[in-house]
Subunit: 334 residues, 2 copies
DNA sequence: TTGAAAGCGCTAACAG
DNA sequence: CTGTTAGCGCTTTCAA
């Protein structure tokens, strides 16, 4: 006869033929219990392997070190690589990794409402998600130590990159390689907010291009949906309208890959007719032999963990900001 | 008006003009609470500085609402896609997702030692990892409901595919497309155990090929390390030694991709000189326009969750086995 | 979507 | 010394 739930004082009381009050007394060593009764109860306790549930849980929770990660649902490989970094760093520690995947900003906010209350978390890492001030305050009020990755906020620690600088480096690199006609491919998220990473990359790219004495007219900018197939289709049309040779800076590796596909479809030679420079350095970039700007995705997760843990053990209240370097990885598409 | 004891949900309920049940719901992010109600409650919570009492919670809670997933560290995209399925399915439920990534079998076993004891888990999903009988017993003894994905065990529920059938389908498909010279590329894990998925795929492939009156001599089998670059290098040599045209069945999409790269390097036309059929249908397969055998990776995770949850609510002790179908996805490489 | 009400496992006051 | 019983603060049916 097996039981599926842990024994309670009621079970102990039944086995020992006493009331639950008596069991409670021997457990808590309150008042005096007749020695014989006492030992009967203790035997029952031992034979059942009884552990007071509330204590057990309270203790478990206190002991259990848990850090939570809120991440967009793993649609894009970049999220996965960041998460992988988090998992790698946390694997070295006694902390448990709890994942909250988010599919909408409403979803995100509801997590943020409840996590500080009943999340039982020691710390929180928020990946690639933008936080409203309101929720930042909540986090702060409830003393839930938090590190942001990709979208910084002045009141919280974060690990980020300089997107504008990334655009600049792209321009410099392509220029140095001898290209003089440029284009940019970004995704539609660009349109919504001025401060989105992709807009910043475009800004940096454009500025540097004009500084170099070239130019980037609007007709050489393609804003496509975040979907590799649709992007490819639009890229085909886009490329047809362009004068070659051309050097394209794609705001993400995935878009760069769409471009490569489009180029193949049009029988363009890479990099002779069309040079493609990506951004991210996904695992996949290597498979496509894509030249790209590495933004150290895995490391961003690792560093977030390190920052979080160090603040946990040493809660000095200064917000810490870690800026990751960018690095051009030369492969075959430029 | 000051109070001397810390606020309870009753206080919150009073201030928010709702019932304690509603407060509990917003705290736990359960079921749906009308957004307006929700924010009223949250305001009350914040204004009172309410913090739920852990012990009271522990008392009232019957389930932990935590399900654990043990997975190989996300090196291969196939693990990620399985995990993605788990996350997707769990996202619909009030269960928390705890991830345990594993980098060695020792590592796995140490998790398996402690998880049933102190894991505080309602259930466990084990992805793409092989279990010793000993640990299976442990899981059973401690009544930790478990579902296995990819490596089944007779005493536990599992979701799996028929790898040998996959090999057979590969042969049939390539044969039907008119190919008559075949090769196989697998990875070195094949060597260690006879029952590994990749060996099974090879077995099924080989058998069916001879049934079809063709043959697959050992010199047309390449066993390469699980590393896309090394595989590519070896594939180049391998292809040089082969008579063309040739149809290759790669045991995984990643290896298929290595083959595509090798073919490009050798200026072979795909599929005219070399047909490549993959196995998995990773997201990436589409980007490479790879014909492949889909094994429904995401679904495997989703189904594992469904199986687990259904056993949790309805603990009928029959072990359940779910066999996923395979599906040929025709794209451009065959 | 909500509220009423019945637990959850345990402690403590009160009888006996 | 021991049992009965009323809570503790929270969760979770079940109806409405």
């Amino acid at each position: 006869m097996t039981r599926n739930s842990p024994p309670t004082i009621y079970d102990v009381a039944t086995v020992a033929h006493v009331s639950i009050a008596t069991v409670s007394r021997v457990i808590n060593n309150l008042e005096k219990v007749k020695p014989e009764t006492r030992s009967v109860v203790l035997e029952a306790i031992d034979s059942l392997g009884f552990v007071p549930k509330a204590d057990a849980r309270a203790r478990a929770i206190r002991t259990q070190r848990r850090i939570g990660v809120v991440t967009p649902f793993f649609t894009a490989p970049s999220f996965v690589q960041r998460l992988r970094g988090v998992a790698a760093a946390l694997g070295q520690t006694p902390y448990e990794l709890v994942i909250y995947t988010v599919t909408s900003s409403k979803h995100l906010n509801s997590y943020l409402d409840t996590l500080p209350l009943t999340g039982n978390l020691d710390g929180l890492i928020i990946l690639s998600l933008e936080l409203d001030d309101h929720y930042v305050e909540r986090l702060l009020d409830h003393h839930l130590e938090t590190v942001l990755v990709e979208y910084p906020h002045p009141l919280l620690s974060s690990v980020e990159i300089d997107n504008e600088e990334g655009g600049k480096q792209a321009a410099d690199y392509l220029h140095k390689r001898g290209y003089r006609r440029f284009a940019f491919v970004g995704d539609t998220s660009t349109a919504e907010y001025g401060i989105h990473p992709i807009s910043l990359r475009l800004n940096g790219f454009r500025k540097e291009i004009s500084r170099l004495g070239c130019n980037l007219p609007d007709c050489q900018i393609l804003i496509a949906p975040y979907d590799i197939n649709k992007t490819r289709e639009q890229a085909v049309e886009f490329l047809k309208s362009q004068e070659l040779p051309l050097a394209i800076f794609a705001a993400t590796d995935l878009q760069a890959i769409s471009l490569i596909q489009a180029a193949r479809q049009l029988n363009l030679r890479i990099p002779e007719d069309l040079a493609v420079l990506g951004f991210d350095d996904l695992d996949m970039a290597e498979y496509f032999n894509l030249t790209t700007i590495r933004q150290h995705l895995d490391e961003s997760g690792e560093i977030a963990v390190e920052m979080l843990l160090s603040r946990l053990t040493n809660p000095n209240r200064t917000v810490q900001i870690s800026k990751l370097p960018l690095e051009i990885i030369e492969r075959g598409t430029t």
